[in-house]
Amino acid sequence: MKYRLDIAGQTVEMEAHGTGKGEAYHVTIGNQVYHIRYLALEGGCYHLFVNGRAAEAFVARTEHGKQVFVKGKCFLLRDAHRPLLRRGKRPGLQDGPGEVTPPMPAVVVRILVQEGDLVEKGQGLVVVTAMKMETTLVAPRGGKVKKINAAVNDKVAPGDILVEIEEEEKEEEGVEENG
């Protein structure tokens, strides 16, 4: 069985030889070979032996992939073959798609732009609140606000596209299109 997994910002190739529960098998992770055995304990808890060394891991299945806990660290592992569930990278980190979505479930407090506005990368677009804290969602890249799909007091979730930004042609910059 072959797997391609997205984990911690990298894609890991994994191949397992040998099948069946409780059986020992060899797993190639990246370019290393591991000898692995496991015991499935109560829901989501796995007692692993990796090259003979015990390790404990906990797995929760979510709509975005498997969340795995190992020694205080929490990873999201996603099948790299599956299309991305519109969750995307955190906004503001790089020039991503021109779509703005909240990183967590939240409520819209203020909308700072209007459709048709020209915005710069990093400019605040929508202020959302979750758990008593306000956060400003910023433009992942410069461009024109094509559509706003949210209103004040809306409950929104990751994946909901609140603002769509389309790229402005360089030549047209500064030229009013609609007069």
Partner: protein
């Protein structure tokens, strides 16, 4: 002693209060909002009363409704916990008016200490050192500009009715004072309905050290030593410890005496906390009195062995405090980590949602004050604190290692938490050296991301879970309940 009390709070602190009540054979009434009908505190209490909608204003801040619930259930006292109505003088007064004991100081003391300028004046008169700055509040920008020149830059703009970092600004040069004051004034008006501001000298990289006090109705005051609370994000504490690594025995003694003077000067009753700022030369200054049980109170309980909630209830019932200062001898070192539903990789953005998996740490010297359980949906409406993990050990290093071990076995899945961040923080050279001033996280941990260690173990677990998924689906669903026996977990076998 009271026969029954109402707890006007939610989550971990309500659960914590209920536990002491049970030990004291006091019946408990929980209150809850629509979002919290299956919250941990509701399940833990003897009775539960629905207050109203999920908005705090309709539920946990709804004074009339809470008083009504207390009367309807025959509760003799109300414990406000922390946050919500804990430091609201109107609520304390309303309890007094309705013949219900408020577990906290009298309304007049809360009002007096809630006015930060008045509190500064009182402390100055009582000989408690205060941060140089203004002793009256104002909304006049001209007056503030003149005062700033007198105090010197950098200067701290603060709201008279302040708290939680709201209406607070650091101003480094005269050019940016006006804009900062306008912002702070409007923020304070919105948050507290009072836009008055005052100025204080801004201390560079101060330590935040607070003293726990207990004071009864008969004028007897003791302190229960300090808590170091300098590691903060967004002016909110995230790790606390006691004793403070930055106090010498003589400084500790001087600050303890100042804390008692502060309590006496304000006519304090019940449990409270006197907060000080400590500069790098060992000078300490009164900051404010928190007129409630603090979030971080368990570290004091761990080192002194005194149950602060029990003391609060005894004091509220009018009992004299049976503790002398010499009786309070702290032992060892305690650390608390606040576990928030937040994504530390995304600027500590809140992370509400369902708790899919929960396993609490255990072992010697470990205490977990927890307000969630597996299957609970962490609501979006309230503060993101999930639980507080507290450890105690013989010394700071042993406590640090114990905390790391405990955090490494604290499994919360389904939502993001601060656990991986806290582990890295406790492992850092700066924490080990005790360099825990208020700029700690900004200086050492901005743009933190989780280390990509143990990735191969996570991959192996993914695989195990995939195999488990296919084999359980193949074997017609229904996983066996409870801890599995080898007969189940070893799968197919033959003799």
């Amino acid at each position: 002693m009271f026969k029954k009390i109402l707890i006007a709070n939610r989550g971990e602190i309500a659960v914590r209060i209920i536990r002491t009540c049970r030990e004291m054979e006091i019946e408990t009434v929980a209150v809850y909002s629509e979002a919290d009908s299956a919250a941990a505190h509701v399940l833990e209490a003897d009775e539960a009363v629905l207050l109203g909608g999920s908005e705090s204003s309709e539920s946990y801040l709804n004074m009339e409704r809470i008083i009504e619930a207390a009367k309807q259930t025959g509760s003799e006292a109300i414990h406000p916990g922390y946050g919500f109505l804990a430091e609201n003088p109107e609520f304390a007064a309303l309890c007094e008016k309705n013949g219900i004991s408020f577990v906290g100081p009298p309304a007049r003391v809360i009002r007096h200490l809630g006015d930060k300028v008045l509190a500064r004046k009182t402390m100055k008169e009582a000989g408690v050192p205060i941060i140089p700055g203004m002793l009256t509040g104002t909304t006049d920008l001209k007056v503030l500009a003149q005062e700033a020149d007198k105090t010197g830059y950098p200067v701290l703009v603060k709201a008279v009715a302040g708290g939680g970092g709201k209406g607070m600004r650091v101003v480094r040069d005269p050019g940016s004072l006006e804009q900062a004051c306008i912002e702070a004034r409007s923020e304070a008006e919105k948050a507290f309905g009072n836009g008055a501001l005052y100025l204080e000298r801004c201390l560079e990289r101060p330590h935040h050290v607070e003293f726990q006090i207990l004071s009864d109705h008969h004028g007897h005051v003791v302190h229960l030593f300090e808590r170091e609370c300098s590691i903060q994000r967004r002016h909110q504490k995230i790790i606390e410890e006691t004793p403070s690594p930055s106090l010498t025995p003589s400084l500790r003694e001087a600050m303890g005496k100042a804390a008692i003077s502060a309590a006496r000067a304000s006519g304090y009753v019940n449990a409270g906390t006197v907060e000080f700022m400590l500069d790098r030369k060992g000078g300490f200054y009164f900051l404010e009195v928190n007129t409630r049980l603090q979030v971080e109170h368990p570290i004091t309980e761990m080192t002194t062995g005194i149950d602060l909630v029990r003391k609060q209830l005894e004091i509220a019932a009018g009992h004299p405090l049976s503790l002398e200062q010499e009786d309070i001898i702290p032992r060892g070192h305690a650390i608390e980590c606040r576990i928030y539903a937040e994504d530390p990789e995304a600027g500590f953005f809140p992370s509400p949602g369902p708790v899919l998996l929960l396993r609490e740490p255990s072992g010697p010297g470990i205490r977990n004050d927890c307000g969630i359980y597996r299957g609970f949906e962490v609501p979006v409406e309230y503060d993101p604190i999930l639980s507080k993990l507290i450890v105690a050990a013989d010394d700071r290093e042993a406590a640090r290692r114990r905390m790391i071990r405990a955090l490494e076995t604290y499994v919360i899945l389904g939502i993001k938490t601060t656990i991986p961040f806290l582990i890295d923080l406790l492992n850092s050279e700066a924490f080990i050296a005790g360099h825990t001033d208020t700029g700690f996280i900004e200086r050492y941990f901005s743009n933190w991301t989780q280390r990509a260690e143990d990735v191969h173990i996570a991959c192996a677990a993914y695989l195990a879970d995939e195999l488990e998924l296919t084999s359980t689906t193949a074997r017609s669903q229904k996983a066996p309940a409870g801890w599995p026996t080898p007969w189940q977990s070893l799968g197919e076998w033959r003799l």
